[in-house]
Amino acid sequence: MTSPQTDWFDTPAAPVDEDVMYVDVDGYEGPLDLLLDLARRQKVDLAAISVLALAEQYLKFIETVREKRIEVAADYLVMAAWLAYLKSRLMVPQAPSDEEPSGEMLAAMLQFRLKRLEAMRRAASQLMNRPRLGFQIYARGAPEPIEINRKSLWEASLYDLLKAYVGQRERGATTDYTPLQRTVWSLQEARDILQRLIGDSFEWVAMDTYLAEYLATPAERTTVRASTFASSLELVRLGKIDLRQTETFGPLFMRRRKSDTP
């Protein structure tokens, strides 16, 4: 594949010798373009060109170029191979059993493609030679544009409004919010403390008395009581302390169990 604007030689080739026609290698747009140029040099109507001669010219040209060890783009070589095939078909008479297309047919196909390419080129130049807008034909130089006054009607509901307000106030209010750290007594912790407080005391003492120093903070009171009570039940189960409550909602008394000597 070649990009259209690239030369198909790495360097512009020096003019080849007199026998081979000099070809300006700059700006060929593919093998068909080169062939069309060669055909035009036969200075006859494309319909009357000798396809055989054209094929030979092309092959000779490519050969010369290759002898000079100049890289030729692949599609030029593909065309060369096809033209070599065409040449052989044209020179060898067609056998009746031969199912390949005849040399004449291949030649006609090539002629058609050349004619079509030339026709498109002619059409392009005819198009460009037409009086074109902005070159020979003009539109209104100072158009008077149609002004469209867009009156915007804004849509918003009271709900949108309130939500927008509340959203902002919440955003503002929660910026300095720090989640509350809660002190929680674990059961193990409560049991250790309770055992230490009861110590060797065999006297009935109210639980809250033991815990007095921990109950000072209101936030912690609930957890301290709950955990201590739960641990005391565990200690009773283990037979380490006795627990007594004389009235409903009355104080809980506790003491070391006598049988359990340290």
């Binding site: 100072a142 867009r150 804004w154 918003a156 009271l158 309130l162 927008a164 503002g172």
Partner: protein
């Protein structure tokens, strides 16, 4: 009319049509050749277009085609479109509604971001807010408040219809986890508050730099 005159008229017609700017007689003459009576030709041409949809008009010493004045309305069209208010505009509007009279700095304090001039302009243009006066503080910033059109649009009879803290909480719009210090102000409905001065002449047209 002679053939030469007709040809000249055609050329003038094409030149004046294609030109971006009005053309003067001298410029036109260059296309007609010496001796042509450009002025006479232009008057003839203007006569031909009189009463048409497009007229040849004279502006100072120059000539140009222009849409006939009585058809000018064709070139202007009104289109209405409804668009949802942007979040920034909604937020600004709601702050103005609750905190009025509010200065731009106060709006920004609540929003926590700078409020573009475009947002205020848009709300002014929509007719939902207005400049109320100027705060009697250094810099004398403009105070904003809502309009009757605002009440109309949002279906409120008065500013006092805006739900307060408890109502907002009750509706679930405001969460219950907010600090007790959070207050929702009662919008001020009167003409001017103690700390406001009236607007001065020209205030409404002036860039608000508060």
């Amino acid at each position: 009319m002679s053939e030469v005159t007709e040809r000249h008229l055609r050329i003038l017609e094409a030149l004046l049509f294609a030109s971006k700017e009005p053309l003067d007689a001298n410029t036109l003459l260059a296309y007609l050749g010496e001796g042509a009576d450009v002025h006479g030709l232009l008057v003839t041409l203007a006569g031909r277009y009189a009463g048409r949809g497009v007229n040849l008009v004279r502006r100072a010493d120059k000539w140009a085609f222009r849409t006939a004045e009585d058809l000018g309305f064709l070139l202007r069209r009104e289109e209405q479109e409804t668009r949802p208010l942007s979040r920034a505009a909604l937020e600004t509007l709601s702050i103005i509604a609750y905190h009025q009279p509010a200065t731009r700095a106060e709006i920004e304090e609540v929003r926590g971001v700078a409020t573009g001039k475009g947002t205020i302009d848009l709300l002014l243009e929509a007719g939902w807010i207005r400049m109320r006066g100027r705060r009697r503080t250094p810099g004398r910033p403009v105070t904003y408040g809502t309009t009757e059109a605002f009440l109309d649009h949002f279906g409120l009879e008065a500013l006092s219809d805006l739900p307060g803290l408890d109502e907002l909480k009750g509706s679930g719009l405001l969460s219950n986890r907010l600090p007790p210090s959070l207050q929702i102000p009662l919008p001020f409905e009167g003409a001017l508050r103690d700390d406001e001065d009236p607007l001065e002449p020209g205030d409404e047209d002036v860039e608000d730099n508060s």
